[in-house]
């Protein structure tokens, strides 16, 4: 037995990730993707596996997969085929799954993530397309029900190299990958809805006395949050090291690999089944589908739709517009929102003010409506104008908030709305002086404090400015008002 002092451990993690593609229809039939619909409502003879029905490939699913492959710097296969993977399960209507076995559509790529120890490049072994199964429902006692709405939904399975060595790194990899694929628009990527399923394969290399031992690999299922991915990996690392310490025969060469489930409440993984006696899926080429020959033209066409990727875009925004990395990342988190932002800049919106309004005004409104900023439906020109008006003082910040809210669902310009709502700031000094007269007359005590008490001067001046804003109904320009109040108080002080 080794003691702790003598052993070195290295965590080894690779991922299998299922990405549910956001195509309009299923992978091999014309049914709409039926997630969340009434059970068994989005079905046809093909996805029900009725006798005589035949599959036809959904070109959009293939394009999305190629796009993802390109974004992961993969080689795109010129020739792929479809294979049947046979196993019996009630939610699998044909009792085989149509998948890609030995010729995946993409392979040999990589994905870079930023970690505490710098940039890490994680290898992508392969990515292939396959159909999802339906769902077994066990809610009704005494029987099992089957909902086939999900059957035939396109899944892109991405397999990484086992090159992740830290739970935090795994967390970053998963979150960044999710951002990438949602940014590409190939999936909605909502983990709670099962639109992305991460399955880590975990084991540990233990070195002692100059010899390396490896624990059996466990594949953890049912992870429906990034946090649980990290926790499960941490747990497995400790469990495997512990199991090896209590039994040195706990080794990959001597014990079967296993599937484990994640119990989020208890924070533990639970043994599901041993992979001893490998399953025989009897893969063979699906004779109902023709092989896919991907021409260079096809790849190029997809490549044209490949956008600037998030990492590069964040870098550009920080360099060109002097945004902080955090701000730029917040904007790039949603591609349409980032596109809108850049269009507003292009339309003459001042970057700093626009950025401020994005984070303080628009983000808040979007949050209230449970939408993205782009989802608010406000155009880039309106956003640019509002930012410019704010920067010039044509409207003040409070007014800008009101105008922004009014812009949602309106086809009027911010200028029109500002006028209609009476929110155009009054830059005229005579009018401002009249409001100041009124405020000074109503608040003699504050004026006195401002003039005579240096301690209270600043606070009193601010109070007076607020009163002017109130009296003006928000139309006074805060800067002009402040300047005039300051001048007036200085005058009173010198007179005093």
């Amino acid at each position: 037995m080794s003691t702790d002092a003598e052993i070195q451990t290295r965590l080894i993690v690779g991922f299998e990730i299922h990405v549910q593609l956001a195509t309009k229809t299923k992978l091999f039939c014309g049914c709409a993707l039926g997630f969340g619909e009434t059970p068994n409502s989005a079905l046809c003879p093909v996805c029900m596996g009725l006798p005589g029905a035949l599959p036809v490939l959904n070109r959009q699913a293939y394009d999305y997969s190629v796009l993802t492959g390109l974004a992961l710097d993969c080689e795109i296969a010129e020739f792929t085929k479809w294979d049947r993977k046979s196993y019996y399960y009630p939610d699998l209507p044909k009792n085989y799954q149509t998948s890609q076995y030995d010729l995946p559509l993409a392979s040999n790529g990589h994905f870079e993530i930023e970690t505490k120890s710098g940039t890490r490049r994680i290898g992508i072994l392969r990515a292939h397309l396959e159909e999802d199964a339906g769902k077994n429902l066990h809610d009704v006692p005494g029987c099992s029900l089957i909902d086939l709405n999900r059957a035939g939904t396109p899944l892109l399975e991405i397999v990484t190299q086992p090159e992740i060595h830290d739970p935090e790194e795994a967390y970053t990899f998963c979150t960044e990958l999710q951002k990438l694929v949602t940014y590409l628009g190939v999936t909605h990527g909502i983990m709670q809805k099962g639109q992305m399923r991460f399955e880590p394969n975990i084991n540990v290399a233990i070195t002692t006395g100059g010899t390396e031992y490896r624990t059996p690999i466990s594949e953890v299922k049912n992870l429906n949050s990034f946090r649980s991915v990290r926790s499960a990996i941490e747990y497995e690392f400790h469990r495997q090291v512990h199991d090896w310490k209590s039994d040195n025969g706990y080794l990959i060469k001597e014990r079967p690999n296993e599937n484990r489930g994640w119990d989020d409440d208890k924070g533990v993984t639970v043994f599901q089944r041993s992979k001893e006696g490998a399953d025989d899926y009897r893969y063979f080429p699906d004779p109902d589908l023709v092989p896919v020959t991907v021409t260079q033209d096809w790849v190029n066409e997809v490549r044209l739709s490949l956008p600037e990727l998030p990492a590069a875009r964040i870098k550009r925004l920080t360099t060109d517009l002097k945004l902080t990395t955090e701000d730029a990342a917040a904007i790039v988190a949603n591609r349409a929102t980032a596109d809108l932002f850049e269009a507003a800049i292009e339309a003459g919106g001042p970057a700093t003010t626009l950025m401020k309004q994005y984070l303080n005004v628009w983000a808040k409104l979007a949050n209230d409506q449970d939408a993205s900023i782009a989802g608010l439906g406000v155009g880039h020109e309106a956003m640019a104008s509002l930012a410019a008006m704010t920067e010039k003082g044509v409207v003040n910040a409070t007014a800008a908030n009101k105008i922004a809210e009014a812009l949602i669902g309106s086809d009027k310009s911010p200028e029109t709305l500002a006028e209609e709502m009476g929110l155009i700031a009054v830059l005229d000094e005579d009018q401002t002086e009249k409001w100041i007269d009124e405020a000074f007359a109503e608040n003699a005590d504050a004026v006195k404090d401002a003039v005579s008490s240096p301690k209270k001067a600043k606070k009193a001046a601010g109070f007076l400015r607020g009163q002017v804003m109130r009296i003006s109904g928000g139309k006074a320009n805060p800067k002009i008002t402040g300047d005039l109040i300051e001048a007036r108080l200085a005058e009173l002080a010198s007179e005093g």
Binding site: G52, P93, I146
Partner: protein, 498 residues
């Protein structure tokens, strides 16, 4: 017998000299009279057929445009889906299965104004060569009711041979149209793979299956092929190629036609009567100026073995869906899901289907895949190459359809291998994907090819097989049609035999 051909029927109805109703009534009458004994039909939809016939007559009367098969009674093999009409595959596992949709070919038949009379019997899931593997009934050969009609499209062949309908659709995976056509004295055409959409054909061997017509004349086969073929976007293996007017292209001179004869198809196991009839048919061609050329199909001897690996592998997967969960037969009171699966399939499938599922599962299993399935695919490629080579030199290849005429009921049911060898000359066209046709070329004189039994009179029909190159149905049909213009074997009826 006074049953009109497809061409005669459609033209008479279109011209108003007969009504579709009278044609359909006549066909139903023949069924009524004959099918109690012959058992070709799995189900007959007489009332619906008469309603459809009346609708057609109405349209003819009004002068509305009508389709190429106007008023023609058709029967369809019961492994081809018909909306609202049970499609059983002659299997207990699908006894009550009613598809919610029509197969592509059925849509095409309806669009051409044909009248669907009912569904025909088959070997369960099209697996067999005698129609004895049917959970519905055993179909008898109308030429000799002690003999099999062939299979698996035995019901379709008998329906046409006995005059119940001028055309039947069958499916051909290894000879299942051509072999029963030969045994029953009809024409049977297996089109090129991809010529006719498989959408709605219950799959047996997906890379081999093809739907085709059984008719009395080659001309009728051409007319029906024209109606049912063409691209269907619902079948990925369907060919996106124009459909020629097959019926218009039938009249070609025989002179200069190059007919390849592979000695491999005339060797051991071929009965003398069949050999003589096929050779006599070649003489007819020769007499018309056709050129008879020896060609070689060196890998033919591996075809049966190759076929029974490829077809069973695909079948084991295609039939996995019949599990009692979603539709079809379900075992009563299952203990658990495994019990549900195993008893449903045990009760629902017949012996031959089980045999092929086990064979196919075995050849796809890990550790055996390379030795069986992969090797079979390589052999298949070689067989295809043999045909490419041959078709670079000839227009069609001639051979017998079967080694013997129809064998006795029960003769081969206990000897699967002997049954499989009944398809030895037909299987290679499916493996290569080419088109092929079977047409009557003689009778065995009543002795029976096995020398026993027989009905006296003309005896049992003998089939000539012509194999055409890929998508060269026009040339194939023209060659076959030319033979029928010079001979009258196809004009004989079973009643003549008595």
């Amino acid at each position: 017998m006074s049953v009109l051909t497809v061409r005669e029927t459609a033209s008479a109805i279109r011209g108003g000299s007969v009504t579709a109703r009278s044609v359909v009534e006549n066909a139903l009458g023949v069924m009524e009279r004959e099918d109690g004994r012959l058992r070709a039909m799995v189900c007959v939809r007489g009332d619906e057929a008469l309603l459809a016939a009346d609708a057609v007559d109405e349209r003819v009367k009004r002068g509305d445009p009508v389709g190429a098969l106007v008023g023609v009674p058709v029967v369809v093999k019961d492994n081809i889906c018909t909306s609202g009409v049970a499609t059983t595959c002659s299997s207990a596992i699908l006894r009550d299965f009613v598809p919610p949709y029509d197969a592509h070919v059925v849509e095409r038949l309806r669009a051409a104004d044909a009248i669907l009379l009912g569904k025909t019997n088959l070997d369960e899931f099209a697996m067999g060569s005698s129609t004895e593997n049917s959970a519905t009934s055993v179909t008898l050969n109308p030429w000799d009711e002690l003999r099999v009609p062939g299979g698996s499209s035995g019901g379709s062949a008998v329906a046409v041979a006995a005059g119940m309908a001028p055309v039947a659709l069958g499916s051909d995976t290894g000879g299942s149209i051509r072999q029963p056509a030969a045994f029953c004295g009809t024409v049977g055409l297996k089109p090129t793979y991809g010529r006719v959409s498989r959408y709605g054909l219950v799959a047996f061997g997906s890379s081999l299956d093809q739907i085709g017509p059984l008719t009395r004349t080659v001309e009728d086969a051409a007319i029906v092929l024209g109606a049912i073929s063409g691209y269907d976007e619902r079948d990925s293996t369907s060919a996106d190629r124009a459909v020629p007017d097959y019926a218009a292209g039938l009249d070609r001179p025989m002179k200069g036609l190059r007919i390849g004869v592979p000695p491999e198809c005339f060797g051991e196991g071929l009965s003398d009567t069949v050999r003589h009839s096929v050779e006599a048919a070649l003489d007819v061609y020769r007499g018309e100026g056709a050129e008879i050329v020896e060609v070689h199909l060196p890998h033919l001897s591996y075809a049966v073995a190759c076929y029974y690996v490829v077809a069973t592998a695909e079948a084991s997967s295609n039939l996995a869906r019949y599990d009692g969960v979603h539709y079809g037969h379900r075992a009563a009171d299952p203990e658990d899901i495994i019990d549900l699966y195993s008893r449903t399939r045990e009760e629902g499938f017949g012996d031959e289907v089980k045999r092929r599922i086990m064979l196919g599962t075995y050849v796809l299993s890990s550790g055996y895949y390379d030795a069986y399935y992969l090797k079979a695919l390589k052999v298949r490629a070689l067989i295809r190459r043999d045909f490419e080579e041959a078709f670079s030199r000839v227009d069609v290849i001639a051979s017998p359809v079967t080694p013997t005429t129809a064998f006795a009921l029960g003769e081969k049911t206990d000897d699967p291998l002997a049954m499989y060898l009944a398809d030895i000359y037909t299987i290679s066209a499916n493996l290569a994907g080419t088109c092929a046709i079977s047409l009557p070329c003689g009778f065995d004189g009543g002795g029976g090819s096995d020398g026993g039994g027989g009905s006296g009179g003309v005896g049992l029909p003998i089939g000539l097989q012509l194999i055409g190159s890929w998508f060269e149905e026009e040339a194939l049909l023209a060659a076959a049609h030319g033979y029928q213009l010079l001979t009258d074997h196809h004009e004989r009826w079973p009643s003549d035999a008595a």
